[in-house]
Symmetry: C2
Subunit: 428 residues, 2 copies
């Protein structure tokens, strides 16, 4: 039954989707007025409920896994989909960690008293209704629900058809626990439908949905951006560059490149392109190419790199723009830091870029002229991560410039409201 959801995506009409969004909006009004204590109790209750329902959740997940295998899904994707007791425990722990984080709602961002006596405050408030459109991993269902709840937002969770059985079971457990703990009905909901058109209905629910966050591949993100009438926060596309400068500590450079490329190739803060200053190419290229080769990294390089080792393939423009998310790396030699900056401006997705150098002027020039969400000097790009920044769980890493940029914590899931107190002031 649940398995069938994969082969035959369920449709949802626009009216069905809007009805669910309308309920989320009503819940959001109640959520916005809740104190931290109530929200944290609900998060702990949700964590406990996940553990208590482990058997049912694993059974529901097994249906998705079986359907995925039936349909010939590749094992790495099946692994992303699969739950086990450890993964469930980690999801519950994640909710408890969110409960331990400070509540951003109610923070006074700015405040002043005007000459006419008006007292003006800018207060942090929830966004309202948060829609998250994502692929595969069921843990996103729990993370997103928890982060949205803690920041006072109602959530509409739209996972992929391949995880529908798991997501239905997870949301049922989370929602029941939340309501028992005193939260409004419909604070956490699964958006109806598993076909593309039901996503489109969600993207058109202006006035009901306040923001849509796509989490997934470039194709999903492009579809959301190009079809949404609701504001979107783009996350997670990382064509990440490392530039090794003429004055780099080459041992440090080698360690940073290897860490950024190989410590976890499948994530968005992994390095995808290497740029090396011409003056250190003769010394650095042979050692980095062999070190990468040892670790099974396929290098797509320019003429300098292909000349170093037969294992290096000739790079094309396709390589400069590709986020491999695998043990592959595009590599070229540049004349100077400005050519490195130009290359990054042309090809980067604006996620994170690093420079390795001992020269302060060069570091400052790179930092001020590279326009990405994060710019690192002498450190691995793998540190661009909400947990590494101390934000706790993150809903994603924004690669756009509006509203949020870089790792998104709870604060990035809020808006602000101006509150003005007077005693009868009118404008002359």
């Amino acid at each position: 039954m649940t398995g069938r959801a994969l082969s035959t995506p369920a449709e949802a009409t626009e009216d069905e989707v809007r009805a669910v969004a309308q309920r989320a909006r009503q819940a959001s009004f109640e959520l916005a007025a809740l104190n931290r204590g109530v929200k944290d109790q609900a998060l702990h209750a949700m964590a406990g409920a996940l553990e208590a329902a482990a058997a049912d959740l694993l059974e529901a997940n097994a249906a998705d896994v079986a359907a995925a295998r039936e349909s010939g899904t590749a094992e790495p994707l099946v692994d992303r989909l699969a739950l086990n007791p450890d993964r469930l425990a980690a999801m519950a722990q994640g909710l408890r960690e969110i409960a331990a984080l400070p509540d951003p709602v109610g923070e006074v961002v700015r405040g002043f008293t005007r000459p006419n006596g008006l007292q003006v405050q800018q207060l942090r408030v929830p966004l309202g209704v948060l829609a998250v459109v994502y692929e595969a991993r069921p843990n996103v269902t729990v993370d997103a629900a928890g982060l949205a709840l803690k920041s006072g937002n109602a959530s509409l969770l739209r996972g992929s058809a391949s995880a529908i059985s798991s997501n239905r079971a997870l949301v049922a457990v989370l929602s029941e626990a939340a309501v028992k703990a005193g939260l409004p009905e419909d604070a956490v909901q699964l958006a109806p439908g598993t076909d593309r058109s039901s996503v489109t209905h969600l993207l058109r629910a202006r006035g009901l949905v306040d923001v849509v966050i796509p989490r997934g591949g470039a194709e999903l993100i492009r579809y959301v951006v190009e079809n949404s009438h609701v504001p979107v926060i783009e996350t997670g596309t990382g064509n990440v560059h490392i530039y090794v400068d003429a004055e780099a500590d080459l041992e440090m450079a080698e360690q940073i490149v290897l860490n950024a490329k190989t410590s976890r190739p499948s994530v968005c803060n992994a390095a995808e392109s290497l740029l090396v200053h011409r003056s250190v190419a003769a010394e650095f290229l042979p050692r980095i190419v062999s070190a990468l080769h040892e670790r099974g990294v396929l290098v797509h390089g320019d003429a300098y790199f292909t000349a170093v080792d037969p294992s290096v393939r000739a790079a094309t423009d396709h390589d400069w723009q590709t986020e491999y998310l695998a043990l592959e790396l595009a590599a070229r030699v540049v004349a100077d830091v400005d050519e490195a900056i130009s290359h990054i401006r042309q090809w980067s997705s604006g996620h994170s870029e690093a420079i390795v150098t001992r020269n302060l002027d060069t570091a400052r020039r790179f930092v001020s002229r590279v326009d990405s969400a994060a710019v690192l000097v002498n450190a691995s790009t793998r540190f661009i991560d909400g947990a590494e920044f101390g934000f706790g769980a993150e809903i994603g890493i924004s690669t756009q410039k509006l509203h949020a940029r870089g790792p998104m914590g709870l604060t990035e899931l809020t808006s602000t409201k101006w509150v003005v107190f007077g005693d009868g002031q009118i404008r002359g």
Copy 2:
């Protein structure tokens, strides 16, 4: 010649629009690295250039005004379009006031050192390329160019066909003065074309344009929101409510309603709807209706209001949702503050709402449960304005929740960038 632009909007191809946007992007890289001194000198030079070119600018504007009259444009719209020496002087003065404002670029928003020694800073940076799509008033051309420049952004200005002659002349003068003062070419540009399709090309220039801000009527804003692939900041639609509570000072309430409705009916922070608590209706309705009537305000009211005076028309749902921008007001009686809040949730555009009350609990309930960009207690909604907040010139008042909400000053025209300094840290 220039007048013809009105009757026959000039088309621009997607390639032409993208080429201009690409030049703006190049300029934005240079602008982002400029110090405040250079930007302020340029703003003063631009102000001086406007005054020096007054005769040419007025002549160019006269062509637009003549074309508008020829085509039978209503006089109030012709007046919005028309320039005169005083209005030009005010535009120049506006640029000097922008020069006097602090530079938001480079502000350290947050900063911390991680246990592993990584030094992390979140720095304020320009958005990059700012496109503004607006109607009629040529002063928007100067305000937007000045605010974009001060915040380090390149601007693509897309005014209406009716002001094309004025806008071409203004941008030519501003751009020449800016370049002479040391700014990059293409820091300030008019987006090509005056037809709808050329706007669409601008809205599709993802990766070249960082944000689009529509300034104009609801139809223009809806078109931009529904067609843009570039992030949008919505501004300026204000279906503004005033709720007069059971415990209001009725003299204060009358003054606030009259000020909010009649001091400048054509602006977005003017009141459009009045909600009155049933318990004070018998006393307040007759006095407010006659006071509004005296000032030429047409009231569209519920049965309570129509019973008070024959001049009151029966209100329909159309009235509850209309932003009149004229001497008209929708009015009804409500049972309590919660019915007022429900009415506002159903009909408000989320701009600004005010309550008049002496009861602290009621005030706090209204403030926490009304989800608009601004909520006022015992003050006129006309104060929700960048200048009234001390922000200096504003590019608009955001009615969306993402990125900016309420009056938008220079800070709202910036993004942030994470800068991380290390000494070789790699992730375990």
